[in-house]
Amino acid sequence: MADQLVVDVAGLRKHYGSIEAVRGLDLQVPRGSIYGLLGRNGAGKTTTIKVLLGMARPTAGSAHVFGLAADAPDASVEIRRRTGFVSEDKELYDYMTVAEIVRFTAAFYPRWRRDLEERYLRAFELPAAMKVKALSRGTRTKLALLLALCRGAELLVLDEPTAGLDPAVTEQVLQALVGHVARDETTIFFSSHQIAEVEQIADRIAIVDRGRAVLAGALDELRESFRRVQLVFDREAPHAVFRAAGVARVRRQGRVLTESSTGGAEPILEEARALGPVSVDVGPVTLKEIFLETVATED
């Protein structure tokens, strides 16, 4: 199993002075997956990515990529040789032209994909002679993506890849990522607080809150395991305490009691019916609901 993990993070902690950016994060990213790291701003997503790429050193715990320790300088160089990266701010060298920064980056990667370079230069309509500083944010993002995709990388690490983009460019970027994974055996590890895009392309997710993974797994399994049970009463909903395993959150609102759970539905339904509701409704939940429930539970 371990050699099937591209990223393996255990008990990771990262302090910046008195600020705890990451607090005991555990994360396993299997090879070939599109793994979405979902969390609010300041949840520790970017810090985790920086640790994986050797840009920040962990305070405690371990982070391995391709089985290599991310905090060992020599191993970190090897990790970066096999990894493509797009930073959150998409800042590149303003003083270079598009052609220059492509040539500059290609020189570091023996497996640079000339075919993909030509394809994405055309598809993204990138002006080769234009200075990077003259590019719009959307075009700069597409350039950053090209520079990551063409490295012939086994792992793509993308920090908020679509932040600040309009819907059309966002869709173009996401389609490029999905298309890339379909063609090449690449693992994608990306952070986002855009639930819709995570839901669109990820097959596995981790929800991170305040530096810890509060939920992780295959997206389909999470959707399967999460259930929302809604009870409607002919009176004010009672203050109920559910003892069944897997109850994540219970909300009372007037005559309605809504309960979210991850366990099997039957034990919960048994408890629910004992409360005497006029109706019981069991339904699936969306990723947005899972996210909000999980993060709200942490609050």
């Binding site: 920040a56 970066r80 930073s87 800042e91 570091f108 990667y109």
Partner: protein, 255 residues
């Protein structure tokens, strides 16, 4: 390609420095006939104290061309401007990219931080060699135009003293650039350090014989035709230590 990147990042500082220093070297040579005409008037200058002594010394040195070139070019114009550009070329680098954000892109490359800093520092040192040597070689090249000659060996020897001595300020700026995220504080602190040392050497006579600026202007070579090897080795070691400190500092840093 890291060399190419370092060149793109520093080329304007270097080219502006080169243009200014070359213009100054030309001026130093072509103004000599006028200086010669003024020398007979020098005994009428009556200034006492340290200033008077310095004026008289400059006049004495200027009576012959070699002395004039050393006094005017290697001891004043070149050393002052070159020191500014040494600090300017040392300032900036990996950390200063953080203000623009491109530092993360650089750090995502499969290159160690030591290599990133090393290439940038090496590129700066090569540019500093050029700033010391090229304008100085203009002196022997242009001297026949004013009816004099100047030794290429002397020009190279003084350039070597300037570079090996003054690289300390470059090393200091590189080290400070791993602490401060802007280009200005490393530049200003390195220049302030240079100013303090220069003023100290002017006024504390005990310091002057072993002073850094005395080493940089090659006074020992000018008077004895021997290079001050001990001083040059000490400053080279100091520069190496500063660059090593910079590499250690950047290796420990979180981004």
């Amino acid at each position: 390609m890291l060399w190419y990147k370092a060149w793109l990042e520093t080329r304007w500082r270097f080219l502006i420095g080169l243009a200014i220093l070359m213009a100054s070297a030309c001026g130093t040579v072509f103004i000599y006939p006028q200086v010669q005409r003024l020398i007979p008037l020098a005994p009428s200058v009556d200034a006492g104290g340290e200033l008077g002594r310095r004026v008289q010394e400059a006049v004495q040195l200027s009576r012959e061309y070699r002395g004039y070139v050393w006094s005017q070019w290697f001891r004043q114009n070149l050393i002052q401007m070159w020191t500014v550009f040494a600090a300017l070329l040392g300032a900036g680098g990996l950390l200063s990219q953080s203000s623009g954000g491109a530092v993360l892109y650089t750090l995502s490359m499969p290159a160690s931080r030591t290599r990133l800093l090393g290439v940038r520092a090496a590129a700066g040192l090569v540019e500093l060699v050029a700033l010391a040597v090229v304008p100085s070689l203009l002196i022997p090249l242009l001297s026949p135009a004013v009816g004099d000659s100047y030794s290429v060996v002397d020009a190279l020897a003084h350039s070597a003293c300037l570079f090996l001595g003054g690289a300390v300020f470059f090393g200091l700026a590189v080290l400070l650039s791993t602490v401060f995220a802007d280009i200005w504080r490393p530049l200003l602190i390195a220049l302030a350090a240079a100013a303090v040392i220069a003023i100290g050497e002017q006024f504390v006579r005990d310091v002057s014989p072993v002073g850094l600026f005395r080493l940089m202007n090659g006074e020992t070579y000018f008077r004895t035709r021997h290079l001050p090897w001990t001083g040059l080795l000490v400053t080279t070691a100091a520069t190496t230590a500063l660059l090593y400190g910079a590499a250690s500092s950047i290796a420990r840093r979180d981004f």
